[in-house]
């Protein structure tokens, strides 16, 4: 048929195909509906068509927001909501609104505003995928935009300080997770046995919270107390993205930690050995002509600690 559609989006890590919630939503929907998408992860930001990510390019058409991209895919007959009733379609819109109002502010905060998370994880990760010199400017800009959005939409009075706003958005996000968990119950997907648009959006928002290893993880800890949502994410990753869960956290994290421990032990042993050798060298005199005496003294030096030890 026509040339395949190309999606440009942020790449992935920690077992996810992408770290960016919107990119992940579009990728998940494409998998669910069987749309043939060639996914390009952005490594050179200058080449991204408009700077809005994710971006779908099909022949000459360029589309940039997830809702519009999904609409376009539906018009191309890649429709994951084919079997939904009218009421279920309405429920989809309502739950997506819930996600955007209640969960997105906390997600943005965890990634872009929380200082420890931003400095140790988000900024280095994004900076490594953007070409210099944009890598110095763009992560900061994304962080400022996230903070702006949070303050403008949730920061009105009586919440006057950032800490109060933060407390409120995390409360709302935890409530939203609880509601999603109750709605999902024990089913595999939100509407029966096949995944739909709502599953794509929920997956897009939940998976980064679930998988990315941040220093400050209150939202992740809350999510891990809702096993049906964790199972939901793992299912989709295993079935649609062919990334095995076992290769990555938490088992992966454990093996990484064990390896790190072993490495540290080896390094410690080596440094002990080096110190010992240093001690020996210092005790023995340094002048070359006294080679023989040096050796004797070294032997003596080695011997003397032993002598000292024995009573």
């Amino acid at each position: 048929m026509a040339a395949p559609m190309e999606l440009s989006c942020w790449g992935g890590d920690w077992g996810l195909p992408s770290l960016h919630p919107e990119s992940l939503t579009v990728m998940a929907y494409a998998k669910f509906s069987g749309a043939p998408l060639a996914v390009n992860t952005i490594t050179n930001f200058w080449r991204a068509p408009k700077g809005d990510v994710p971006v779908l390019v099909s022949e000459d058409i360029v589309i940039s927001q997830p809702a519009k991209i999904l609409n376009f895919l539906r018009k191309q007959k890649y429709n994951a909501d084919y079997e939904l009733s009218a009421k279920q379609g309405a429920d989809t819109l309502a739950y997506i609104a819930l996600l955007e109002e209640k969960l997105l502010p906390a997600l943005l905060h965890t990634f872009w505003v929380e200082a420890e998370n931003y400095c140790s994880v988000t900024k280095p990760w994004f900076a490594s995928r953007i070409a210099f010199p944009l890598s110095l400017y763009l992560p900061g800009k994304m962080s400022r935009e996230a903070l702006n959005r949070i303050l403008l939409t949730r920061g009105g009075p009586p919440l006057y300080s950032l800490t109060e706003v933060e407390a409120q958005i995390y409360r709302d996000a935890k409530e939203c997770l609880n509601l999603l968990s109750k709605r999902l119950g024990t089913s595999q997907f939100f509407f029966g046995h096949t995944p739909t648009t709502l599953d794509a959006f929920v997956f897009g928002f939940l998976a980064p919270i679930y998988k990315v290893c941040f220093p400050r993880v209150q939202l992740q800890e809350h999510l891990k107390q809702l096993p049906n949502l964790c199972r939901f994410c793992d299912n989709i990753l295993a079935c649609y993205f062919r990334l095995t869960v076992s290769g990555h956290s938490p088992a992966g994290q454990d093996t990484a930690d064990a390896n790190l421990q072993k490495l540290t032990q080896l390094v410690n042993k080596e440094s002990n050995l080096i110190e010992k050798m240093d001690d020996n060298l210092r005790k023995s005199p340094q002048h070359p002509p006294r080679k023989l005496t040096t050796l004797k003294l070294a032997a003596g030096g080695e011997g003397s600690p032993l002598n000292r030890l024995s009573p």
Binding site: A94, A97, E101, P157, R183, G185
Partner: protein
């Protein structure tokens, strides 16, 4: 928005008196209107008022199970997200409406030049917010399309039932009534917004039903303000 509260409180069978004040925004604890004044307490915004009323022993959503409560909250967010934002967009970002209706109305209690300054300030604030959530790039047609989508979802959810959750009204019914009634009865430059709502006959029937059930009876007690009476007149016209 006032109507959402009036509807909600009347659904709970709690008597209220509506008072209009020019400095109402400053009296409210959160800066947002409307707010209720009960004894020593002042509570504003729908969420806290619902919880306050619940704490006093009146609740409309007790009969719902967990999944239904989740659905109710989701639909309330949809209404806030789409309808409220669309109303704000129309009031403050559509140039024609701003010039002819919003600026005069917002600035009316104040003398010149304060009326112009305050309304420009508010307009700037609203436009900043629209930009942050990505609505600044939308045209009026796109906004109307979003409203249509939202109304379609509400209409499909309501179906042929009298209220959104069976036979008992809940906070969602109050919220939807407040917004739709305002859209249907407020005079704007064009009627496109109200036409979008009128396309869905079960939504207009829903509004009429709630109005008759909860506002007409209240009228007879003659303890309601002129606002509800004049609003009633314009819907039945």
């Amino acid at each position: 928005a006032t109507l959402c509260f009036q509807a909600f409180l009347q659904m709970c069978n709690l008597p209220i008196r509506v008072v209009c004040r020019a400095n109402a925004e400053y009296m409210s604890p959160s800066g947002k209107l409307p707010f209720i004044h009960v004894g020593n307490q002042v509570v504003s915004e729908l969420g806290p008022i619902v919880q306050f009323v619940k704490a006093k022993g009146h609740s409309l959503s007790d009969g719902l199970d967990e999944v239904q409560k989740a659905e109710m909250k989701a639909y309330m967010e949809l209404v806030n997200n789409m309808l409220l934002t669309a109303e704000l967009y129309l009031q403050w970002c559509d140039d024609v409406t701003v010039e002819e209706i919003t600026h005069p109305r917002y600035g009316s209690p104040y003398p010149w030049p304060l009326n112009r300054i305050l309304s420009y300030q508010k307009q700037w604030e609203v436009r900043r917010k629209m930009k942050a959530i990505g609505w600044a790039g939308k045209t009026l047609e796109q906004v109307l399309e979003d409203v249509d989508q939202c109304c379609q979802a509400l209409s499909q959810r309501l179906g042929t039932q009298p209220y959104f959750f069976n036979k008992q009204p809940t906070e969602l019914d109050a919220l939807v009534f407040g917004h739709l009634f305002t859209i249907l009865t407020t005079q704007l430059i064009t009627d496109e917004l109200s036409e979008k709502v009128k396309n869905y006959s079960n939504l207009t029937a829903f509004c009429r039903r709630i109005e008759q059930q909860y506002f007409e009876g209240h009228d007879k007690d003659s303890s309601t303000s002129g606002a509800a009476r004049s609003a009633k007149r314009s819907l039945l016209r």
